[in-house]
């Protein structure tokens, strides 16, 4: 229980006010943070100042924490059997985090203007179920069978300066945002094919690889047993915030008010970052085999260096290093929503979200309902099917106390009761300073 509280607490405090993938938030279009999902969304107040805040999203499709760490009544232990039994054909773990330093939105008549700065961090790892199975159950089960254990990973961080504008034309509001991106660090697989074949006759091991790793300010690889990963997002030195890794991205959106119905759509993060500083690319392509220590020389009376076997294994994948700059294309996302206004403060909505996040694109379909309780509270509930996860019951609450606007949102409130077993969990909480409410 204590561990559950700690994890829940961590999730709570680390989740903040900005989100890129949050169905409940997209339905709360008058909250300033909704404008990050659709630049056509305009807050109810003419001036909104958002203070430093955090956002986090954690998504797992394979074993969850509670599938791996068990308790036998005396102590916690790692249950590998449970881990293996909860594997999917392809398992991924995704972590997104945003740190907003400052956000500002001004509305003058039909025009809205927005400016902000964020630091974003993304981590993603995808591995086939054969990889942990190979590690813990061994390769004997795969004798004579080529097994793909290639894993894809991404560590990415950039600083983002956004400047957006919206314009209301009768019932149609359109918005657009341009973002200057400055890369902090990057490590990703451009290609990640790695097959292993254990010969059923002599157990010789053959690797077939087509791997390419791009890194910037992050990786120094010498061999499989000599890898230095330097990706410390915890320390951000403002003096080094502006690197030569430049990029751009754009968001566009629209909202159409048809009386009882309201339509909205947005396309976000169409852009890239070019990485040019401390770039290292590691490529391995071809077949590499290990047939055991060659003792032919021993039989003929000569010496065999045992260190040779270590070198052979360590260099088996034979990574070649070069220093070619590369471009990281930001995964773009799209939102689409239809709302039906039942009454003044009541609406029903259905929304769709898609994100081109390889190799695990996200597709979410939500039905939601929103309600206003007086002039202070607004509530929104949502049921979301997110990829193959059908147990996402979301809830968002905002409270307006004079100029202070508090809010708490999640797409999966069920995770609160079982944070260790959660596979999708996001949380948005925070406050805005919002003044000068617009007249309806």
């Amino acid at each position: 229980m204590k561990r559950s509280l700690v994890v829940l607490g961590l999730m709570f405090f680390m989740c903040g006010m900005k989100a890129q993938n949050m169905q409940v938030l997209y339905g709360m279009d008058r909250l300033y943070q909704g404008s990050y999902l659709n630049p056509a969304f305009i807050p109810n107040n003419r001036v909104v100042v958002s203070i430093p805040s955090f956002y986090n999203n954690l998504s797992i499709n394979g074993p969850a924490y509670s599938d791996v760490i068990k308790n036998n009544g005396v102590e916690d232990y790692i249950d590998i059997n449970s881990l293996l039994s909860n594997l999917q054909p392809t398992n991924y773990l995704r972590e997104d985090m945003e740190i907003q330093t400052l956000g500002l939105c001004l509305s003058v008549g039909p025009v809205g203007i927005q400016a902000y700065h964020k630091v974003k961090f993304n981590a993603f790892i995808a591995y086939p179920e054969e990889l942990p199975s190979l590690i813990w159950e061994g390769n004997t089960q795969f004798l004579g069978e080529s097994v793909n254990i290639g894993s894809e990973f991404l560590l990415h961080s950039h600083s983002e300066f956004g400047l957006g504008a919206s314009l209301k034309l009768s019932g149609l509001t359109v918005g657009a945002r341009a973002k200057y991106l400055n890369g902090i660090g990057h490590l990703s697989t451009e290609r990640n094919d790695l097959e292993i074949l254990t010969d059923e006759g002599d157990f010789s091991i053959e690797f077939g690889s087509d791997y390419r790793i791009n890194s910037s300010n992050s990786l120094d690889y010498n061999s499989l047993n000599d890898i230095n990963l330097n990706f410390s997002i915890g320390d951000i030195n403002w003096n080094e915030l502006f690197s030569a890794n430049n990029g751009l991205s754009f968001d566009v959106g629209a909202q159409l008010d048809l009386g009882k119905f309201e339509l909205s759509a947005a396309i976000n993060d169409i852009g890239y970052v070019n990485f040019d500083t401390d770039v290292r690319n590691y490529s391995s392509q071809g077949s590499f085999s290990y047939e055991g220590l060659d003792i032919s020389n021993v039989l003929s009376g000569q010496d065999v260096e045992l260190s040779g076997i270590v070198d052979t294994l360590a260099n088996l994948l034979n990574f070649e290093e070069n220093n070619e700059g590369f471009r990281y294309v930001i995964p773009s996302s799209q939102y689409l929503m239809i709302k039906y206004k039942i009454a003044d403060n009541w609406d029903l909505g259905i929304s769709y979200f898609h994100e081109s996040y390889k190799p695990a694109p996200v597709n979410s379909l939500s039905i939601s309902a929103g309600a206003g309780l007086g002039n202070i509270f607004r509530l929104r509930g949502a049921y979301t099917v997110r990829n193959d996860n059908y147990t996402n019951l979301g809830l968002g609450v905002s409270a307006k106390l004079t100029f202070l606007e508090l809010f708490l949102l999640t797409d999966n409130v069920l995770a609160v009761s079982d944070p260790l077993g959660a596979r999708d969990f996001n949380l948005l909480a925070g406050l805005n300073f919002a003044i000068s409410r617009k007249k309806k």
Partner: protein, 514 residues
Amino acid sequence: MVIRYKFVPVLFLLSFTLFVVGCIDGDGLNDLSVEKPIGEYAIPLVKASINMEDLVQEFDEYTEFDTDSDGVILFKYSGDILKRTSNDIFNSIESSLNGIPIPIDSNNFPIPFTTPDGMEIYLMEVSEGKIGYFFEVEVDEPCDVKILFPQLFDENMESFVQEYTLSPNGEGKITFLGEINLEGKTLIADQDGQVNLQYELTTASGEELLFDDFFIIINDLKFSYSEGVFYNQEHVGELDTIEIEVFENWKGGEIFFENPNITLTVNNSFGVPTRSVVQVFDIHTVDGQVIPLEGEAIVNGIDFDYPTMDEVGVVKSTTFEFNKDNSNVQDVLGSKPLFVEYLVDAITNPEGNDDVVGFIWEESEYSVNVEVELPIHGKVIDFLVVDTFELDMSVLTEQNIEEAMLRLNYETGLPIGFELQLTMLDDSDLELGDVFQLEPLTIQPVDVDSNGEALTSERFQNDILLDTDQIEKLAISKKLILMVRFNSTMNDELSVKVRPEQFLDLSLGMIIKR
């Protein structure tokens, strides 16, 4: 300005930990125990691809590899090369002549041209040396003295003549001390085989006298060439041994070689008839027996070829092979020889024939070399070699290996197979049992035809199970006794031939459960 978002790395660690749990050994989470399934891991251990040529080339430092005329591999063991040079012979002649005063008691004195150890010299080319002489006579008037060496020629082939006119001293005597430089001169004995020193002593009044005393002494004599009759003279060799490394680690069984031989090779540039005298030629076996090599050549000796008088500078080679037809070599080399011990002397002019004139020149030498050749054409019957080596397999404990299976794959073209067993010893040298309990690790020999020739190569696969008990014992073992038992195809029925191109390819893999 540095901002530390302290929760950020914590979140990252949390997320990453979940992944780590999914793909990295539980040891990474130090505080938590790990419950995991028993994994079965197949790993290649060793491989080897070797043919007999490569194998025997590096057999050991004493064994040479060759092939016989049939292309069969043979092991060759050589003894040290025994050498005798002209210095050894000349020294004995020179020392027999040098420094001995010879009284000359007539005016035509034959100087003995034989050596005490049996050489009658007919011709001698002198590279250095001197003859000192002293004479004295009582006389009261001057005299003419003429010293002649009719058989001592200078480089123009003119005989040596020295003339003096000497006057008596106050005591009425003529005394004289003279010297003849022999360098570059040639002594050629007369038809009687003699070298004569002559002199003439004539007074002024014409009277011919004899010296009262006349001595000569030969000093620092060195030859560059010598001709003559070499009498029966024995030159002593040196005791030598040849190690037969094949049997160094023998513990049992037999090897029968079809055509082993011992070869005696003599290279000789002395122009002298010489014959071997075998003093010792014994084979010492691994079981302590000493068996002499027997054969007619041992008893009668072997005559070495030698250059004739017109072949000065030519080296003549004599090779004698002790084989199964002329000796008991097949028996003695089939009796697990550990080393061969031999001492071969040489005797000159063994027949004592006075008519045989020989020569020695300054670069003459003879060398004797003994080689033992074991062509690998034979039968190997339970030939067992044993060796012990130290090891530390405690890694087996650390890896929690519960069970293992060794898989040996091999393709062989060898008509000799072997069974390998390892016996484990603890740190008190107490036997813990065999590593391969059910059956030893076996490399089968291939089939052969009726001539002992290996037929096509064959592939084999052996799986050997090591249970928990054996692995536990192996983990505490400090030494292993390696026992390898060799057998040829149809071992005691047919001799097989081992050729350089015959090969063995093997790989050893292992499946472990942990």
